[in-house]
């Protein structure tokens, strides 16, 4: 079998790339190792309930008719109508540090007024920051590198505000420990503060089903349970892949969403470990089903980013399975769903906590189960310092760990945002093997989709 393009991975980026190629009549095949699509942002059913693996919020929300930004770009490129995503905007979110809370919404003016209230002398500096951001072009890779902490501190001279602004941005898209690339900071700032959060009532399955249906309707081929074991290399070129069952498939080019380190490991010609560094930031995520709606117990916020001291520590836990000093708490109920669409059947609180892959991966099975329960309790105990105590209302829970993330994505270390060093042009050491998704540079749902689109355009459609 010979294809124009083989895509490794049926996550958001692989599916988006596949749609582009199939739309323009390329012979394309997506190979997915898992038995289901979605990668990091998949969904499952357990004890009669529907759960999303990842989805807190679709970032980059812009209302219908908006002409700029990644969301409108992806809708156009995939020929999807705005309505089809059924995005309901957030009710409002908060950054909570000890003694200071900054609320924000999909209207930047709320954050501005909160900053002016809590940090009266930083209002002008915040405006300067917005001016700098307005000039940034996220498709221009040349000024991506550099320290975001340094950049921010040059503009904002209140360290606590710097930490508070970085907290949500790092949580939702920083693969690097401690600091963030300036370019990534701009991208995340825009996607969260200037654009915003939204969610389809039906969750991530709506987005995935839309993508996969579109892909199939265009004649694209999708093979599940088809893990790529090797990328077959001839000189400077990849000629095809070998699947785990030994089958070989051939193609003019390969687009991989498996990650940088992970993709290089598959290459025939690279026997030794590559110097490329894998990411370290992984999470545990707990889902608590409540017997009431979160807002009925005083939790009306869509997302709460909390941190329990004046400095925000974004790093792998040094000496334990998890680091509960900071976390993200999301209630999917707290979106402004249109009246006619109904509501979620139950109250849900999702909580994300930083975790260490190695420690989780090395636990014996029985201990793994025990630790999951223990850290569920610890994480929630940390969170309820910043939100009303919902523990008495919990009727069901699920927890997943860096091991789960690793299983869904095959990312080394279960690194949610992949490697710290991104390959923005998507190229590799082979002339016709390209990266898309997390390790190309754009993360999150919208980011991954845009990445798949732009890499398909740049490397598969513009040529040939």
């Amino acid at each position: 079998m010979h294809y124009d393009t083989i895509i490794i991975g049926a996550g958001m980026s692989g599916l988006a790339a596949g749609i582009r190629l199939a739309h323009f009549d390329r012979r394309v095949c997506i190979l997915e190792k898992h038995w289901t699509i979605g990668g990091l942002n998949s969904f499952y059913r357990m004890h009669g309930r529907d759960f999303d693996v990842g989805l807190h919020a679709v970032t980059n929300y812009t209302p219908k008719g908006a002409k700029h930004g990644p969301l409108s770009r992806l809708l156009r490129q995939l020929r999807i109508r705005w309505e089809e995503l059924e995005l309901a905007p957030q009710a409002g979110s908060v950054i909570a540090f000890p003694d200071v809370r900054l609320r924000f919404s999909n209207d930047i003016e709320l954050l501005r007024s909160e900053i002016e209230r809590e940090f009266p002398d930083q209002g002008d500096n915040f405006q300067r920051l917005l001016d700098e951001l307005a000039d940034y072009d996220d498709l221009d890779a040349s000024n991506f590198n550099g320290s975001a902490r340094q950049f921010l501190s040059n503009i904002i001279d209140e360290p606590l505000l710097v930490e508070m602004l970085l907290c949500p941005l790092m949580w939702y898209g920083n693969a690097r420990e401690h600091d963030m690339d300036v370019g990534q900071f701009f991208i995340m700032f825009r996607s969260i503060f200037l654009e915003g959060f939204a969610r389809p009532l039906k969750g991530v399955r709506l987005i995935l089903k839309l993508l996969v249906r579109r892909y199939r309707a265009l004649g694209g081929e999708l093979r599940l349970r088809s893990g790529v074991r090797r990328i077959l290399v001839d000189g400077r070129r990849a000629v095809g892949v070998e699947l785990e069952d030994g089958q070989q498939l051939f193609a003019d080019r390969i687009l991989s969403s498996a990650g940088m380190v992970e993709t290089l490991k598959l290459c025939d010609d690279l026997a030794e470990e590559q110097p490329a560094v894998a990411g370290q930031m992984s999470f545990i995520e707990s889902i608590s089903v409540l017997d009431c709606l979160p807002r009925e117990i005083g939790l009306p916020e869509t997302i709460v980013f909390y941190n329990d001291s004046e400095s925000f520590h974004w790093q792998r836990p040094v000496d334990s399975l998890c680091d509960t000093r900071t976390g993200v708490l999301c209630s999917p109920n707290n979106y402004l769903y249109p009246e006619e669409s109904g509501t979620l059947p139950e109250g849900i609180v999702r909580l994300t906590t930083i975790a260490d892959f190695d420690r989780w991966a090395n636990l014996p099975e029985a201990e793994y189960v025990r630790q999951k329960m223990w850290w569920y309790d610890r994480a929630i105990a940390s969170a309820v310092r910043f939100v009303p105590d919902f523990r008495g209302h919990v009727v069901a829970t699920d927890v997943f760990t860096p091991k789960t993330i690793r299983r869904f994505t095959s990312h080394v270390n279960g690194a949610v945002y992949g490697a710290p060093d991104k390959q923005l042009d998507g190229t590799t050491h082979l002339e016709n093997l390209f990266l898309c998704g997390t390790d190309q540079g754009f993360v999150g749902i919208v980011g991954a989709i845009v990445s798949g689109i732009s890499m398909a355009n740049m490397h598969c459609l513009r040529q040939a």
Partner: protein, 83 residues
């Protein structure tokens, strides 16, 4: 195809690329960019759609010819005359 048919075909393509855009008041002599928001990815799509639908190849150095409706139709006329 006649120039009028080519124009309609371009309108179809633009509708496909930017379904939320109102094209009824499009002025043919003004650049697309001043009237509708098309970024470089969208421009690539006009080229790709023409190739997909009519097997017309447009080399990258000619992309500038697609700046406005008038220049696009003029550029495509000889290429699409026999379709």
């Amino acid at each position: 195809m006649t120039p009028a048919e080519i124009r309609q075909e371009i309108i179809d393509i633009l509708t496909d690329i930017a379904p939320d855009e109102d094209l009824s008041n499009l002025e043919d002599d003004k650049p697309f960019r001043e009237q509708i928001d098309l970024d470089s990815m969208d421009f690539l799509d006009i080229v790709m759609e023409l190739r997909k639908r009519h097997r017309i190849q447009i080399p990258e150095e000619d992309y500038g010819e697609l700046a406005s409706m008038a220049s696009t139709v003029k550029y495509l006329e000889p290429k699409m005359a026999n379709l």
